[in-house]
Amino acid sequence: MQSKRLLKDRLASKFMLLLTIFPGLIVFLMVLGLYQRSRPILAIKPLTGLIFSTSWHPLNGEFGLFPFIMGTLWVTAVAAAIAIPLCLLTAIYLSEYVQKKVREWTKPFIDLLAGIPSVVYGVWGVLVVVPLIKNIIAPFFGTFSTGYSVLAGGIVLAIMVFPIIIHVSLEVFGSVPYELREASWALGATKWQTVKHVVIRKAMPGVIAAIVLGLSRAFGETMAVLMVVGNVIKVPSSVFDPAYPLPALIANNYGEMLSVPLYDSALLLTSLVLLLVVLFFSIVARVVLISVERSIQ
């Protein structure tokens, strides 16, 4: 009886150990798998050629990624410009100025909305943001736009990353010791001076990490952006122009992928590039957050 129990324990232990390797393995396999599938196109064209070429004609074997990369950068930049100030201000307000009760209701509300699916944001974008840009914002600036634009993508994306940036920032602010604020107040500083010179300073690395995390999410976000950004293969020249971000490229062409030679390889290369960029920023942000937690101990 005893040995049966020990045997169970040992088997379970080996089994679990095997599975624990899984997560690390997945990261590795993803990079490897996508790379393998990208090799056909890399064999024909150098990476720099693909990244900087603007001509996208799959039927002719031309896979210039430049317009798509620019599209992604434009949309992410607009999203960042909107989200960063709003989220920072809100996080500071919720952390330093409102009463506990208000914070206790607002925080879950914001978190709840982190669960709303991408497509639903897309539907909302099509119903509200696109007409808003077409009928009000663009004319206000003296230009014309169909509404399906970088700006629409940026606005929708910004709202999608609000919850994560605010959530992580609130945690970081919360980890700044209360007594540090007291020390500043005791010297005669006002609440705002304390926030400006002490709290934000102490929380800065963590807040930056929160922003990086949010933006790397934005970078890879697919559906909602795809639905409002226009999907025109051209480098945008203004926020009112349509664009075609990388994730949208991958998602939109699932149909033709296998019928045109090298198409699937090009798209999987795109996925690989996207993955590596996101991995890089994620890892950097995580490392910063870990060291922030440790230093506050």
Partner: protein, 283 residues
């Protein structure tokens, strides 16, 4: 002196306005979905599959997508549990605290958590090519289970981590093996938290479109085989919205409402469970 006050007032006003903007935009999204979706919502939507092709038909509903999503998300959640639970138990009961494997695995899970769903779709696609699979329920399940694995693991890990070391040692002192302790003590103590983690992951899996667009295909039918394409709610919404027919677009709004309601219910239930659960923890 006055400059200080002015600066403080300006920022206070800015902060308050930002918070309002954020809350307002989130409320606006919910309101739009409800207002547009309610009129189109009727019994037929939930109980019938699309008739006459989902592009052209004006009748029928999205039963194909509802059932398809449930099967797909359910299958993916099941697969994810099979991996998450042993891994989390290993990290917290078996492995030595502070071992490098533990740190590395947790870090990998954190990193995987941030990978966009389209990449999981692309990777799932690579796997499917490797095994000669076509767009199908199974393909979708593979992609989505990879997507929700880090989410589920992280949520489970946070809960299981809170089990105090002393409780484990009390169990060992009675002569139990680690396996028995893991099952009978840890899982029992953290069961609500584990269920919550599963719920959260399920919610994420059912709402995601980018991971299934490359791997699951689409169909008008209720799924009957693992190897045939399957319809999902997110994609149903996407396709319906993209048609030029207003009646079909209406159905998109209703589908969006259904999906949102399902996810909000899951979120709220898991939040309530978490709160209930953390009240009774043995510390």
């Amino acid at each position: 002196m006055d400059r200080r006050k002015i600066e403080e007032s300006i920022f206070k006003w800015l902060m308050f306005t930002s918070t309002l903007i954020i809350i307002f935009s989130l409320v606006l999204i919910l309101a739009t979905v409800i207002v547009k979706g309610m009129p189109a919502l009727n019994g037929a939507m939930i109980t019938q599959t699309p008739k006459g092709g989902y592009y052209l038909g004006r009748e029928g509903g999205v039963l194909n997508a509802i059932v398809g999503s449930l099967y797909l998300a359910g299958g993916a959640t099941f697969l994810a549990v099979l991996i998450s639970l042993p891994v989390v138990l290993y990290l917290n009961v078996y492995a030595r605290r502070g071992s490098r494997l533990v740190a590395f695995t947790r870090f990998s899970l954190d990193v995987l958590w941030g990978v966009p769903s389209i990449i999981y779709g692309a990777f799932g696609f690579t796997i499917m090519l490797f095994f000669g699979l076509r767009a199908s329920l199974l393909g979708g399940i593979i992609a989505v289970s990879l997507l929700i694995l880090p989410i589920m693991s992280r949520a489970m890990d946070e809960v299981v981590r809170m089990v105090p070391e002393e409780l484990l040692q009390a169990s060992y002192a009675l002569g139990t093996t680690r396996f028995e302790t893991a099952l009978k003590v840890v899982v029992r103590q953290t069961l609500p938290g584990i269920l919550t983690a599963i719920l959260i992951a399920f919610g994420r899996g059912i709402g995601d479109a980018a991971s299934v667009i490359l791997t699951a295909g689409f169909t008008d039918n209720i799924p009957y085989s693992l190897f045939r394409p399957v319809a999902t709610l997110p994609l149903a919404i996407f396709f319906q919205l993209g048609t030029p027919f207003p009646e079909v677009q209406q159905r998109a709004y209703a589908s969006a409402l259904i999906l949102t309601v399902v996810i909000l219910i899951i979120s709220m239930v898991s939040r309530i469970l978490t709160r209930r659960f953390t009240k009774h923890i043995v510390k």
